[in-house]
Structure formats: C-alpha cells, structure tokens
Symmetry: C4
C-alpha cells in the first residue's frame, strides 16, 4: 500500500485557498466614503488581480498534474511543501509592490518569488516523474516542459529589467501570466486518451 495523494491535495487546496484570499486583506478599507478614497487602492487592486491570476494558475496546474498522479512518497510531500512555501510569499511581495507602484525593489522581489515558484514546481514535477517512471502518464504530460522553462527564463529577464525599467518587468509578468491562462491541454488530452 503506497501513500495516497488525497491529503496532499486537500492540504494544498487549503493552503492555496488561504493564500489567494488573505491577499485581499491588503485592500485596507478607507475611512472616508468618497470616490477619491479608493484612488490609492488602484495599484493595490491591480497587484491583487495579477497575483490572484498567478495563484490561480498554480492551483490549476497543480490540479491537472495531480490528476495524473497514482501515488506519492515522502520526497514528494516535501517538494510540495517547498512549492507552498514560495507560494505563501506571494501575498507579501504583492502587498509591497501594490504600495510602492512599480519601483525597483518591490518589482525585483516579486520576480524572485515568481522564479522560485517556477523552480519549485519543476522540482515537484521531477520528483513525481522519478516516482512514476519515465514512461508514466505524468512523464509524458510534462514532456520537456518547454512552457515552464521559458517562463523561468522570462522571469529572469524581468528581474534584470528592474534595474532599467520596472514597468517593463511588470509587463513581462503580465504576459507570462497570460500565456498560462490557457489551461494545460497536455494533461486533459492525455487523460482523455487514457
């Protein structure tokens, strides 16, 4: 009897649900009732929107990936916790970026957290592939993971860009998010053909 994946999914759902929801607490309620009182919240709101999409992408991909998983082991549990750790830092960098409108360091650290999440997801994928074998459904579904690698490369470019123009960096973050918005058809196709 191998370790089941049920609780790993349930725990990840719980943590990701909390991460995606506590970000909204940074939208501090203004004490005034005027329309102008909302203006300073616009960049905070846009940061929230971007991060909501990113966390949503991770949950989506996690959901698709785990669908193809048959069993897990102790290493996979830690690879998953490692991913959750970097995801848990998204609310912090989101709030920092939201408060300081596209200045270098907040945008820089937002990129660092994104790149670490990308790497953590890759580590989780590799530990899943190793556990299931090179011919497994999950190994085929990831393939050479071109999309994952190009995303990490683009985050790196964006991080460097923060020295030149942080706005370009944020545009890159938005573009990468957009490219992942389309759910990972690889898994759906493979699962259907099964």
């Amino acid at each position: 009897m191998a370790l089941g994946k049920g609780r790993l999914e349930a725990f990840s759902d719980g943590v990701i649900a909390i991460i995606i929801t506590i970000m909204v607490l940074e939208l501090k309620v203004p004490h005034e009732e005027s329309l102008e009182a909302l203006k300073p919240l616009i960049p905070v709101f846009l940061s929230y929107l971007l991060s909501f999409v990113y966390v949503g992408i991770y949950w989506n991909n996690h959901h698709h990936t785990m669908q193809a998983v048959r069993s897990i082991n102790g290493k996979i549990l830690w690879a998953n916790l490692h991913l959750l750790f970097w995801l848990s830092l998204i609310p912090f960098v989101t709030a920092w970026m939201g408060e300081n409108h596209l200045t270098q360091w907040p945008v820089f650290f937002y990129g660092i957290v994104l790149i670490m999440n990308g790497i953590a997801y890759r580590i989780l994928a590799l530990s899943l592939i190793k556990h299931h074998g090179e011919n497994s459904l999950i190994a085929q579904a990831f393939g050479n993971d071109f999309k994952g690698k190009i995303s990490v490369a683009l985050y790196a470019v964006a991080i460097i860009c923060t020295w030149l123009n942080p706005t370009i960096s944020v545009i890159i973050y938005v573009v990468v998010a957009g490219s992942w918005f389309i759910p990972d058809k690889r898994f759906e196709r493979l699962l259907e053909s099964e």
Copy 2:
C-alpha cells in the same frame, strides 16, 4: 478519463469558508467594556449579517449546481476562479459599507460587486451547460434562469438608486437576498426524480 470535480469543490469550499469568516475580523474589538462601546459596531454587524447571507447563498447554490455536474474542463476551472475572485471582494465592500453607514459610494460598490458575482455565476453556469450539453440535467435545472436574471436587473436598479437614496439600494439588496434564501428547489427536484 475526464477531470474530476472533487478538487474544484474542495478548493471553492476552502475559499468561500475563508471569505465568510474573515469578514468577522472587521468587527474590531472595542477597548472599553461598556455597552455603549458596541454601538458603533451595529452597522458593521448588520453589513456582516447581509454579506454572510449573500456568501451563504452562493455556497448553497454552488453546492446544488455542482451536485448535477458530471465532469469539468479547464474553462470551467477558470470560470469558477472568476466567481471566487468577485466573492473575495465582498469582505472589502462589506467593511467599507459598514464603516460609512449607507452613504453613496460604499453602497454603490457593494452593488457592483454583487452584480459582478451574479454575472460570474451566470458565466460559470453557461460553461457548465456547454460542457454537459443542452439536454443535460444541469441545463434543465438552470432552465432560463429567470431568478438569476431578475437579481442582476435588481442590482442594476439598486446601483442607480445610490444617486437618489442609498437606503433604497440596501433595501433592494436585502430583498434579493431574501428571495434566494429559499434554496434552489429546481436542483433538488431534478436530482430526486433522477
């Protein structure tokens, strides 16, 4: 093998559970021990009550709807996340309305968030119907969704009313909530007849 609905339900339960609970954090604990210290909290409490009922209605309807769902796809995952995004803004507008006792802009944005939730639910319903087919249980259960459409229309009326008298707008929100309080018999009847 199609994508299962289990994790979509679990994740939605998690997010909705957090949304419904963090609203209570706006009931800031008074530093004094007198009965008068609670007075300023009365509008905050009433806002909380209204929003608790609204979030409860969405959870209830989500529960009933998903009961008739057989499988999901990537588009449905995003339609669901889109609904959760608008639900996640309810605590913010609740707190703003609670602090500023029925003045125009807080009541206006409360209505905007309600109308966006109504639209997001409709989008989710349409993507579920498209996936299951026009003759599916879920398509029959929604029917022409008269109740959903009339609610969105009433939210629109309420939003316009904020220029005239925000109190009327809030009365409309309360009336619409009351009409949804009665659980969606359509699903129960159809599920029973199955």
Copy 3:
C-alpha cells in the same frame, strides 16, 4: 438521488478550522522581550483556551452527529450556516472578554453567543431529525437531548449572573464546557450497535 452530506462537512470543517485558528491572532505579539511583557496576555490566553475548547466541542459534536446523517436538504444547509454564523462570533466575544478581564458586558455577550450557538445546534438537530424520521438513528441518538437543554439553561443563568458577579458566569461557562469535554457516547454506542 438526494443531496450528499460531503460538502456540508467539508465546508463546516473549513469554517470551524478558520474560527478556531484566527482567535490566536488576538494574542498580539509584545514588542518587548521580557517575561513581564507576557503578563497582560494571560487573560487573553485563558479566553482563547476556553473558546478553543468550546469550538472544539462543537466540531466534535458536529462530527458525531453528521456520522449518523444519511442525506440532507436545503433547510439543513441553512440550519448549518446559521450555526456557523453564531460560531463565527466566538472570536469577537473571546477577544472582548480577554481584553476586559471578567467585566459585565463582555461576559454577558460571551454568554449570549454561547446560548445562540446552543439554540442553533438544537435547530440543526431538529431539522436533521425531521428529514430522517422519528425512528431514525439520528433521532434515537439525540433522544430528548437533556444535556443540550440543560446547557442552554445554564448559559441563561450565567447571563443573568453577569449583573451580580461576572466571575460566577465564567465559572458556569467553564463547568458546562467541562461537561461536554467527554465526547457524546450516545452516537458512538448507536453507531457501534448498528
């Protein structure tokens, strides 16, 4: 096909887990490092402990009760949400009582919230019994619910006592909690005999 109880359990677990955990946020971290800095936190900590036990009791009883439930309906969903509403107010009254060391009004409202929770649980029980029938396992397990009724009566006594001596009220709360600490054997016995 009747409505399943799975999501009602999952959603309740989520809400109760959040309630029991956010109470700890009232233990504000002292800025000083001395042992004395913890002293003002002692009543806050004791309030937290009492409320943790109360919320734990409700989760425990909910778990035991739902074990005997076969299916649910829309009314039961709302009876359950009603219970969750009153449970969600426990962190607020806990924090208020913790800050104001056993003075009348905080202790009074703590009792009000406890009595409303007791009544809400009774309403949930009655709606479950009505749905399952008078000869059902769940009806037998509740019996005449002597323990539930006596608790509500004691909360009422404690609420009145706040005018005389709030300390007595708190002692009553502790005693009632102690009496529920012992898990509800009725359900375990009935479930085993099944």
Copy 4:
C-alpha cells in the same frame, strides 16, 4: 460502524494549513521601497522559515501516522485537538522570536511550545495505539518512538540553554528540525509491506 477518520484528517489539514499560512502575515509590508527596508524583516523571515519547516514536519508525520489508522474514537478526537492547540501557538512564538532576535524569553517560549507539541503528538500516538491494539500496524510503526523521545529531550536541553546562550537553543531547534526533515520511513516501509 466505527467513527471514520476522514473528517479528523480534513479538519486537521484545515487548521494546519491556516497555521502555516497566517505566520506569513507577520512579515509586515514595509512602507518604503528601498532594499534597506527589508533588513529588519530578515530575522522575522528566518523565524518563519524555521516554523514553516516545523509545521510541515507535523503535517507530514500526521499524514504518515493517519495512513495506518483504521478507525478513531472520542478520545482520539480530543488528543488531536490538543495537538492542534499547541500547533496553533507556533505563529505567536514565531512572531515574538522574530521581533526580538534570539533573546532569552522568546526563545524560551518557542521551546516550550515545541516541547508541548512533541508531548501532544506522543499522547495522540498512545491513544491511537491503545485503540488499535499492541500488535497493530500503528503500534509497530511507532515502535518505542526513539526519535520522538530524543527530540523532546533535546527541546528540554534547549530550553535550559536559554539562560546561558539563546543562540545555542536556536541551533538545537534547527538541528532537531533537520533530523525530522527526512520523512518517517517506518510508516512507508510498513505500509508497503502490508
């Protein structure tokens, strides 16, 4: 019919997910955008990292242990809630230690909470073994629980060390965490051989 373990797992997942995530809220967003603004957050971040690993270890061990559990009873529910209570205090001591960089009392109470968690886990294990019998899978998996006992002993040493040098205490906490980082092979081996 015995009490199922499903909800105990789901509720524990919920509480642990919240505990591990709310700790990140102590990383207060700086109002400035400079790199220097992050400096005071470094000890807070390191405390967060250590506590994330500790909570992760408990979740991991809980997951492995519950995998071997067949059924539960009322006592086990309370032993589990008792563990969750001590886990819920980790965010508080983490934040206090993070703010006061390795001074005696924060490090002392961090150790107290760790030792109480170790003891609570032992009580849970004993109540599970008692329920399943001395020859059960779970009794074999725990064995004499050498690792658990040595950890509690080391926490005790670390607590005493806070009078001499709190830095040594923190090093002990890190070393013990490291020794648990490796997942509990006992359960995996036993479950596989089953």
